[in-house]
């Protein structure tokens, strides 16, 4: 077989990636020893692979390195100690034997007990550490659950109160005891926004006034709309309102009687006299 053919038949990649069969492996290693161009091609592919892996690296978590090194150091120290022990104290065993024969008083049963208690102690320390870690984990999980539960309850309450407001609004719109006054932008020749629309619901029995801002432009943050009742040609303040939600009623001041209602844009908090240049809508009762 031509070596070039062998290089490009796929065996090289199988070998490097570890998917070659044992026979293919053995054959490839023999061929490599015989043909320098084959090992050069293998080396080139390996470099490519390494480069590719370095480009597709994922950083491990920081503790992995510490764990590896502490394991290696423990293993290293142990073997170091073993060699040290035999080198420095070649007679340690003999010395121990002598000591043992001179102190025969210690009961063998006690000795087993002592060993067993040390083992138990070690096991129990291990178990404590393990359970303490588990306990910490559970506490964290529990706290996370509690905080998400609190958040859900908060959301639920918010949604419920919004729903309640909408229900109240619908009941009001269906209530025949309500007088409905549509206030239109086109009723005001100087309206800054002639397509504006707001509706006053005026309870015939209690004289309560509600407003729905159906289509009012959003005012600047330092401004607020103000509702006025026109009583015998004089404007009477009926309160200020915001236009966050066009489908929610807003309770205004109670008005005993009026011939018309109008809305002007005023400074935040309202004015004592309406700004006639900024009258947006008006509607007759």
């Amino acid at each position: 077989m031509n070596i070039q053919e062998y290089i490009s038949c796929g065996i090289l990649e199988s070998y490097v990636l570890g998917v070659a069969t044992p026979e293919e492996k053995a054959e490839f290693e023999k061929m490599c020893a015989a043909y320098p161009e084959l090992s050069a091609a293998r080396d080139a592919f390996e470099r490519k692979l390494e480069e590719h892996a370095l480009h597709n690296a994922i950083s491990p978590s920081g503790e992995v390195k510490d764990k590896i090194f502490s394991e290696i150091e423990i293993a290293g120290e142990r073997s170091h100690f073993d060699t040290l022990g035999t080198e420095l104290y070649p007679n340690a065993k003999a010395a121990y034997d002598v000591a043992e024969s001179e102190t025969p008083i210690i009961n063998i049963g006690w000795r087993y007990l002592a060993v067993a208690s040390v083992i138990l102690l070690i096991v129990s320390i291990g178990a404590n550490l393990y359970f303490f870690r588990k306990y910490k984990e559970s506490t964290n999980q529990y706290n996370a659950l509690v905080s998400s539960q609190t958040q859900m309850v908060g959301n639920y309450k918010l949604i419920q109160s919004k729903l309640q407001e909408k229900e109240n609004t619908i009941f009001m719109m269906k209530d025949t005891g309500m007088r409905v006054i549509k206030m239109l932008g086109k009723n005001v020749p100087t309206s800054p926004f002639p397509s504006s629309l707001a509706t006053v619901y005026w309870d015939k029995r209690t004289k309560d006034v509600f407003i729905m801002a159906n289509a009012m432009p959003l005012p600047g943050t330092d401004k607020q709309y103000q509702l006025w009742a026109i009583v015998n040609g004089q404007p009477v303040d009926a309160g200020v309102f915001d236009v966050n939600d066009p489908h929610i009623r807003l309770r205004m001041k109670t008005i005993r009687n009026a011939q018309a209602f109008a809305v002007t844009l005023e400074k935040k908090g309202g004015s004592s006299k309406p700004n006639m240049q900024a009258m947006y809508v008006m509607g007759k009762v």
Partner: protein
């Protein structure tokens, strides 16, 4: 990144074989992320992959004596340790049970199609390259490389003759190599 190379590969190997922990630290800093990339392609579970990475470096440390530069580069040797450890983990009972508990089926053999489609969303390393190959090739490399099945096992799983498995894997690898360039 040759600019950041502190040791030549030859020096590094010599130092590692004489148990120089500084050299091992360098090895870790330089290659741990690349190896984790490989492990993640097989295991796809970051905490488990980090555990396997730890195991891999400990066995690199223990087995460094047996590394033979005549058979390939140091990285290739480490890569194969990482791949084998990942596949062992993939096949371990504990891992399979965990995956089962997460609602995935433990029997990998029955889900080749799903694996291949899961593989489409993977966007790392060799898997990304694999995506460019045709489906037959992808399935075979998935089984051979990422799942560690032997050619005989693959022939059985896919019900195709052993000879065909061998030829297809080789052709797939030739293409894979070309895509790497």
């Amino acid at each position: 990144m040759p600019a950041s190379l502190l040791y030549s590969e030859q020096q590094l190997i010599t130092l590692l074989k004489s148990r120089e922990s500084k050299a091992f630290g360098y090895l870790y800093d330089h290659y741990s992320a690349a190896l984790l990339g490989i492990i993640m392609q097989i295991l796809k579970d970051e905490p488990v992959a980090n555990d396997v990475l730890q195991e891999v470096f400990i066995s690199i440390w223990k087995k460094i004596e047996s590394y033979d530069a005549a058979k390939g580069r140091l990285f290739t040797w480490m890569l194969n340790i990482a791949r084998n450890a990942s596949i062992d983990m993939l096949r371990s009972k504990a891992y399979q049970n965990e995956k089962k508990n997460q609602g995935l089926e433990g029997n990998v053999d029955l889900n080749i199609d799903r694996q291949v489609s899961a593989l489409n969303v993977d966007n790392i390393g060799l898997r990304k390259v694999l995506e460019k190959l045709k489906k037959d090739y992808r399935i075979l490399l998935e089984l051979a490389y990422f799942k560690g099945y032997t050619h005989e096992e693959i022939a059985e799983i896919e019900s195709i003759p052993l000879g065909t498995v061998k030829t297809r894997i080789r052709n797939a690898l030739i293409q894979l190599r070309q895509e790497l360039k």
